[in-house]
């Protein structure tokens, strides 16, 4: 049973501790090749005829990349051409240590059957384990371990009877390592060398990441940036307080400015301002960096100008001088990068003016990201297309980071391509559902069984109806209201029982958990669950029996809850109405059927509930939302209108809020450690600055001490003859708010929902489009003994990782939605020519104003001076920044397409 032959003690000293670990060496680790007869591997991974057409290796061969090759050339390794690769355990461990995203990608590649990637556990193999020698560095040992393993493979395969000319090839970019390997009699190539030798796949060359050797050739010796400190010095610096660690956030509007959000709240503010290329020192948006604070006299105020990095040769842009002392913020410079957070970026290629040049600048769609210099031979083919580029490095003597081409998405401006871009850019998983996922769908034809009826309350006799926006196919909530014999009202909220169909842990569940939310784009919906569930089996359509999770209250006429009851149920909706239809029924005095009466009862109660909620200090905010009328054939936007709110909208919303709060209380009561809740933290007072200033410009006062005070003063802030002003203030107030987030009750102590003024809140009412609701359904089902638990549901750490993913997906979905609206707005204007519209100034910057055109919900920057032309003389006073004046725009600009 125990296969260990020898055991070796591994000593690792960290500080003063000496840790002794056992390390078993085995003789039952197989080489994983089809050729081998010696190893007793049941399902070998590596193929017999491992053939990649290459001029260097004309025989079948297996590739063994070393750590740096995997880290830097992962784009190449992921290509379907690359097959039969041996990933050594040594390599895998090093990769895991150095870069989590690459580790995940290489693991995905290993799991993919067609790629024939094999992981060889060389560290535990009897013949390939190497011990660190006296004076040998850890890196050298690992390099040696890789060579020893490659050598072993060579000898091992030679022993196989029908191996033929099968060889292994070591890929390394380290010159010394390559020489040593050749000395040992190994075939070793540099990665570029090998890729360039491939016949029939020239496009792979473009994807090669630039390595350090080549970087030096690119630009002259001029050093532009100070050196980054090594990690060890950064760590000591952070420990003794000379440096601060934080997340780097580039300024969208000004490429010379950024802030670093410092983790772990210090007293001297949590944000550090950085100005000037030198001080930004090659940090890229979202990197974890170490910053050094300047002494107080060098602190600066954030610049109010909008700067676009438009000129490729603009190497030295002048720096902004500090302004008033009252605006001074802690200022500093980046001394080192702790962790890069580079991902592939979407964007456009700007072709170099020189025709034959192979180096071009790439402009990412995300304005936080600097331009990237890439090398490609197919530039002319790529111009005007959306492409994906990855950053490889940013040498000290280069103005821009270096990168390489990854993928071509298609023509810019093309609707499919643009949608793809914004989905990729916002990291929205949008591939069609895999076979494994679909296999967990219920068999059709599906019907409610006797067993279902036995364990569920039969509520089919109730007069339930649903109210939704027009065209909605995923109906996840329905309502009813009826009078009880004792004069009280019974109100029910019935939610689609998605958790009945999605069982914990299976592929369908995992996929939904990963997607987190359904993403609604203009004219397109990226579903969280397959359509069969979202639009059919779960959707509470009218006149069919559907499974539901019901929350039923008994209320008196004052909308006070007397009793709350949760149950799994079967319902049969009597009508699916739109908001307008429902409103019409309520208003039409001649209609007196059950549905209408039920709606009237609900509406009356909702008004009381809303009043009470506002009394408590719930905020009514606003955002300039627009809807498009789409052409049904081409899906082009033909007209747009701002969203209208009817009474029935808030009627449905009120009951959804009530259901969510009731469920939150119930699950928290039952599972104080692992309830999934939603909170909305109160924003820091400084967030309200823009709002207060804007109001002051019209001599109005906004109180921000509490949610209640804010709500009241917003209500009071009405200007006669300027009705939109209040909406403008509410739009600004929305921007002051923090993001609402999901969290696990066992990991946090502050549960308050600021915006809704509720002490506890969760999401229960939209399980078809939000995964959080599915989890809440499961928790509630356990709480009422309708379902069993499963391990992950009760594990607060797993819950909180899930919450993080959900928060991330929600945020990204929101951004994607906005981006999609923006894109369609542009499509809309493309054919419109010049229009004259009324706009409102949201903010005033030094050289530009930010304008909102209310009719289109469109926001844009208007520069005072055009390129080359001097603008009018302006005096700028930062105190009145954010003044809102009706500003008849001389000529509405056509939005630029590529930004």
């Amino acid at each position: 049973m125990l296969k260990s032959k020898t055991f070796v003690k591994k000593t690792r000293s960290g500080g003063v501790l000496k840790i002794v670990r056992e390390h078993y060496l085995r003789d039952d680790i197989w080489c994983g090749s089809e050729v081998c007869t010696e190893c007793k591997d049941d399902s070998p991974v590596l193929q017999r005829d491992a053939f990649i057409q290459s001029r260097l290796c004309t025989y079948p061969h297996y590739l063994i990349p070393d750590t740096n090759v995997v880290l830097h050339q992962i784009d190449i390794l992921e290509d379907p051409v690359m097959r039969n690769v041996v990933i050594l355990q040594t390599v895998l461990q090093e990769v895991r240590h150095r870069s989590a995203p690459v580790y995940k990608r290489i693991k995905d590649a290993i799991h993919e059957k067609e790629k024939h990637f094999y992981t060889f556990t060389n560290e535990h193999h009897r013949e390939t384990f190497v011990e660190r020698e006296q004076g040998e560095s850890a890196n050298d040992r690992n390099d040696r371990a890789i060579r020893v393993a490659a050598l072993w493979y060579n000898q091992h395969l030679r022993k196989a009877p029908c191996a033929g000319e099968l060889r292994v090839v070591l890929l390394t970019n380290d010159q010394a390592n390559k020489e040593k390997a050749t000395e040992d009699g190994l075939l070793a190539y540099r990665c570029e060398e090998y890729i360039k030798s491939l016949i029939g796949n020239p496009e792979l060359v473009d994807r090669l990441a630039l390595t350090s050797n080549e970087q030096n050739e690119i630009t002259g010796g001029r050093v532009l940036f100070p050196e980054h400190l090594p990690l060890s010095r950064i760590q000591t610096g952070i420990k003794n307080g000379t440096f601060l660690q934080g997340t780097f956030r580039a300024n969208r509007d000004n490429y010379l400015e950024a802030t670093v959000f410092v983790h772990g709240e210090g007293e001297d503010g949590t944000e550090v301002l950085l100005q000037g290329l030198q001080n930004l020192n090659r940090a890229v948006h979202q990197d974890i960096v170490a910053v050094e604070l300047f002494p107080r006299e060098r602190w600066a105020a954030p610049s109010a100008a909008v700067l676009e990095d438009d000129h490729a040769n603009d190497e030295d842009a002048e720096e902004e001088e500090a302004e008033k002392t009252s605006m001074l913020k802690p200022t500093g410079r980046v001394v080192g990068i702790i962790k890069r957070n580079w991902r592939p970026f979407c964007g456009m290629l700007t072709q170099s003016q020189i025709k034959e040049a192979t180096r071009h600048l790439f402009t990412p769609a995300d304005r936080h990201i600097p331009r990237i210099r890439i090398e490609t031979r197919q530039a002319s083919a790529l111009v005007g297309h959306r492409i994906i580029v990855a950053i490889d490095g940013w040498p000290r003597n280069s103005r821009y980071p270096n990168g390489h081409f990854v993928r071509n998405l298609g023509g810019a401006g093309d609707k499919e391509t643009e949608t793809e871009v914004l989905l990729l850019e916002h990291d929205v998983p949008h591939q069609p559902f895999s076979k494994a996922v679909l296999s967990f769908l219920p068999r059709m034809p599906w019907a409610i069984t006797e067993e279902d009826l036995k364990v569920r309350a039969d509520l089919r006799h109730l007069c339930v109806c649903s109210v939704d926006p027009p065209g909605c196919t995923d109906i996840d909530d329905a309502l009813h209201c009826r009078e009880l014999d004792n004069g009280n009202l019974e109100v029910g909220v019935h939610i689609a029982d998605v958790s009945h169909f999605i069982r914990p842990g299976n592929a369908l569940d995992q996929e939904a958990a990963n997607r987190g939310t359904t993403v609604y784009l203009c004219g397109k919906r990226i579903d969280m669950v397959p359509e069969l569930l979202s639009s059919d089996l779960c959707s509470l359509r009218s006149n069919v029996d559907r499974l539901a999770f019901s929350c039923v209250w008994e209320m008196n006429r004052n909308a006070e809850i007397i009793r709350t009851h949760f149950t799994k149920s079967v319902i049969n909706s009597k009508a699916s109405l739109t908001y307008a239809e429902a409103q019409m029924r309520i208003d039409d005095a001649t209609m007196n059927d059950d549905i209408t009466n039920s709606l009237r009862g609900l509406n009356a109660l909702a008004k009381i509930l809303k009043g009470r909620r506002i009394e408590k200090g719930a905020l009514t905010l606003s955002s300039p939302e627009v809807r498009f009328h789409m052409d049904s054939e081409t899906h082009d936007p033909i007209d747009l209108q701002t969203k209208e709110l009817k009474d029935t909208n808030s009627m449905v919303e009120e009951f959804m809020l009530l259901a969510n709060i009731s469920v939150a209380q119930k699950i928290y009561e039952e599972f104080s450690e692992c309830a999934l809740l939603r909170k909305h933290p109160a924003p820091p007072l400084s967030n309200y600055d823009i709002l207060v200033k804007a109001a002051k410009s019209r001599d109005l006062e906004i109180h921000t001490d509490s949610a209640k005070a804010l709500a009241d003063s917003l209500n009071a802030a009405v200007l006669g003859g300027f009705p939109y002003f209040n909406t403008l203030l509410r739009i600004l107030a929305t921007r002051c708010m923090m993001q609402a987030i999901y969290f696990c009750s066992g990991m946090d102590s502050d549960f308050r929902h600021y915006g809704l003024a509720s002490p506890i809140y969760t999401h229960f009412t939209s399980p078809i489009r939000r995964y959080s609701d599915i989890i809440v359904h499961r928790l509630l089902a356990v709480a009422i003994n309708a379902d069993g638990t499963y391990p992950d549901l009760m594990d607060k750490h797993k819950q909180s990782t899930l919450c993080n993913n959900l928060n991330y997906r929600h945020k990204m979905a929101q951004y994607a939605q906005r981006a999609s609206v923006a894109f369609h707005t542009q499509l809309f204007f493309k054919n419109k020519g010049i229009l004259n519209e009324e706009g409102f100034i949201l903010f005033v910057r030094k050289n530009a104003i930010i304008i909102l055109i209310a009719k289109f919900g469109l926001e844009g920057t208007v520069f005072f001076k055009n390129k080359g032309k001097p603008g009018p003389k302006l005096s700028f006073d930062s105190e009145i920044a954010g003044v809102s004046v009706a500003w008849p725009e001389p000529a509405a600009k056509k939005p630029k397409l590529d930004r």
């Binding site: 260990s4 535990h124 391990p791």
Partner: protein
């Protein structure tokens, strides 16, 4: 940085074992002349020494003695040099007293105490080096020492730990695995009757996983019992050869 990966995709653990494999077990009986029974036990890097005195009459206050069976007295201690950081207090702290109590309960279930009324059996165990699974090493060592002392027992008492990582149960945890997160369950088993003498688990675990974990721990205990049995037989052979001379 990222935590330890307790079980790789290829199914190997940190030290190269597979999920159900035990660490290397080595044991010797009769290591001390003065005591009535003694044994030395290694489970990987965990090393334990057990010494048994008795049965003898009850020492100290008479009131402790029981009229129908023997009293079992256990003392557990750890050598000051047994852990990576030098231990200040080798015995008598809360953890040690708890461990002593657990050992006492385990052996009261296994030793045929009713054969020795009004008498006492002393079991002293010391951990010389600690690398996870201290309790199980102590139980196994003490079992061998009791056998060496010739004290009748129902069966060998075999103990082993089991943990849980990524849906798989891991047998016989080493120190890194014990501290690396997750649950650790210690189980003492009388293998022939499959009866459990003691089971202990500190962390939280979903009940769906408990069965797999118990199963894995019991399998491991059965594996250990084979090793202990062979140690005892070999010891007997050596002793009988010696006494024949």
């Amino acid at each position: 940085m990222a935590g330890l990966e307790l079980l790789s995709d290829q199914g190997y653990r940190l030290d190269g074992r597979k999920a159900s494999e035990l660490r290397k077990v080595q044991a010797r009986m009769g290591v001390f002349g003065q005591a009535d029974g003694s044994a030395y036990m290694e489970q990987g890097n965990t090393k334990a020494l057990a010494v048994v005195y008795g049965p003898h009459e009850v020492r100290g206050s008479r009131s402790k003695s029981l009229h129908d069976r023997a009293v079992i007295n256990c003392q557990y201690s750890m050598a000051t040099f047994s852990t990576a950081e030098r231990k200040r207090r080798p015995h008598g702290d809360r953890k040690s007293s708890e461990m002593s109590l657990h050992l006492k309960q385990t052996f009261e279930a296994a030793v045929l105490t009713q054969l020795y009324p009004r008498s006492q059996i002393d079991i002293y165990v010391k951990i010389l080096q600690s690398d996870g699974g201290n309790y199980s090493a102590c139980v196994n060592a003490a079992t061998l020492a009791l056998v060496d002392a010739g004290i009748p027992m129902r069966d060998y008492v075999c103990a082993c730990t089991a943990g849980f990582a990524e849906g798989t149960a891991l047998a016989d945890l080493c120190h890194a695995e014990e501290t690396g997160g997750g649950t650790a369950l210690s189980l003492a088993l009388l293998p022939r009757s499959q009866s459990i003498a003691l089971v202990q688990m500190d962390a939280r675990l979903h009940q769906d996983h408990l069965d797999t974990l118990m199963e894995a721990a019991m399998e491991a205990c059965k594996g250990l019992s084979k090793v202990l049995d062979s140690v005892v037989r070999q010891h007997l052979q050596e002793v009988s050869v010696l006494s024949r001379d």
